[in-house]
């Protein structure tokens, strides 16, 4: 029995009146045991996903994304976005993650980015090509890192899946039974649907946007770059891009970002301009 359940049971037991007959005492003791069991059951239903599980869920979500999109195996570009990503990560609230953060580019004409649990982040080629400087590229990566830090991808898993997992016995868990595998696959699909089809809620996007501004500033990048990228997104929305049909409108996001930027210090991105141009040319973009 968990320590908390024992503690509550003892407190209840101690609070019993001193003058009771044996029958009452038996009933009270039974009640205490039932209460302790209930406390334990409630505690068990809330089963947090640990770092290792987050990583394995993220691997499968990423493998699913890579089944839908072609990976751009461009060493120069991949190294560059990993360097930008890691420069940001070290200033984030969650710099250490089970197997570290990884960043990659999908060979797609869509204008999009996805963050899988466990810190695997994808940007599309069209989005990278739309960036005019390193800070704009960093702003998109920062936004995705902030989704990972806030564990937004994991939040897409339906709560009944974790309750079901909590109810599975140790034997089944150890064997990795069909029930566990099905729950795993369903959880992966919950997240993939949110990333690829439904999108995050407006409140989650806002949280990631505002955290990204802070992260950019803390890392020395220009927070203003996020606003520039959202203007690009806004112009694509006007052309009715189906990809962002369910996301909060970029125009709404631009409004609160512009308001927050008034309280932030501007940063000069010119010292990174040269390496951005060199990398894009070397990467053939």
């Amino acid at each position: 029995m968990r320590p908390m359940a024992i503690f509550i049971a003892v407190v209840l037991a101690v609070s019993l009146p001193a003058q009771v007959n044996m029958g009452d005492l038996f009933n009270k003791a039974k009640k205490v045991k039932e209460t302790a069991e209930k406390v334990e059951k409630v505690a068990d239903t809330v089963r947090p996903i640990n770092e290792e599980e987050e990583y394995y869920i993220g691997r499968s979500v990423s493998a699913h994304i890579l089944d839908k999109y072609n990976l751009l195996k461009n060493e120069t570009l991949t190294a560059y976005i990993n360097l930008i990503g890691l420069s940001l990560v070290i200033n984030s609230e969650r710099p250490e993650i089970f197997n570290g953060y990884h960043f990659a580019v999908l060979n797609s004409d869509e204008f999009n980015a996805y963050a899988a649990p466990g810190g695997i982040v994808f940007l599309t080629r069209a989005l990278v090509q739309a960036c005019e400087n390193e800070d704009q590229l960093a702003s998109v990566i920062a936004h995705e890192i902030c989704h990972v830090v806030a564990k937004h991808p994991l939040g897409a898993i339906r709560s009944n899946r974790m309750k079901e997992l909590a109810g599975i016995g140790m034997d089944e868990l150890t064997k990795g039974s069909a029930q566990v595998v099905d729950l795993f696959k369903d959880s992966v699909m919950d997240i993939s649907s949110t990333l690829l089809i439904n999108g995050y809620s407006s409140s989650q996007e806002q949280k990631a946007d505002l955290a990204a501004l802070e992260l950019l500033q803390a890392s020395g990048y220009a927070p203003m770059a996020l606003l520039s990228m959202l203007h690009k997104l806004e112009s694509r929305e006007v052309k009715k891009s189906k990809v962002y049909a369910t996301h909060p409108r970029a125009a709404d996001r631009c409004r609160y970002i512009a308001k927050t930027l008034k309280q932030m210090e501007p940063a000069d991105e010119s010292m990174r301009a040269s390496r951005f141009r060199k990398t894009m040319t070397a990467a053939g973009l």
Binding site: H64, D67, L165, L173, G176
Partner: protein, 150 residues
């Protein structure tokens, strides 16, 4: 009077036990650094499940820790989780970490992934390509310095 003194000594003892906090590494591996800064040099490495003891909490989530029989260095708080100081005697404080770590690994893990790999709709080959592109701390440090980043 004597009873009060005993309670006071007992509380002091518990307080002392709580000061030096024990932690368990929750990530696959984490680097211990010479300074509380990700760009500083690596002193050593700790792996998942290893225990460290924090001596001091620094700014921005850094812990000065004692590890591997008395060696000292800085580890970021996000790499560890509390191991509890009194082995589960206090409700809410977790004890028996080794058992818990073993239990936690029995859920969504490598074994489950192996079974998922048999299904269509997943491209783990390209995922391996992504995960094998590793960047060392030295390159990140150079990139940050050259780009006038922080």
């Amino acid at each position: 009077m004597m009873r009060k003194k005993t309670i006071f000594i007992l509380l002091m003892g518990i307080g002392l036990l709580l000061i030096a906090k024990n932690w368990v590494v929750k990530v696959a591996k984490a680097e211990i650094r010479g300074k509380p800064d990700f760009l500083s040099s690596t002193v050593s490495q700790v792996k998942k499940g290893e225990r460290v003891k924090s001596i001091k909490e620094e700014n921005q989530g850094w812990l000065l820790v004692e590890f591997h029989n008395g060696r000292k260095g800085y580890l970021h708080r996000s790499a560890v989780e509390g191991a509890g100081s009194l082995s589960g005697l206090i409700p809410g404080e977790k004890g028996a970490r080794d058992e818990e770590v073993a239990l936690a690994a029995k859920g969504f893990n490598e074994q489950v992934e192996r079974k998922v790999k048999e299904s269509p709709g997943y491209n783990f080959r390209d995922l391996d390509w992504v995960l094998n592109r590793s960047i060392g701390s030295e390159k990140v440090r150079q990139f940050v310095t050259e780009g006038k980043l922080r």
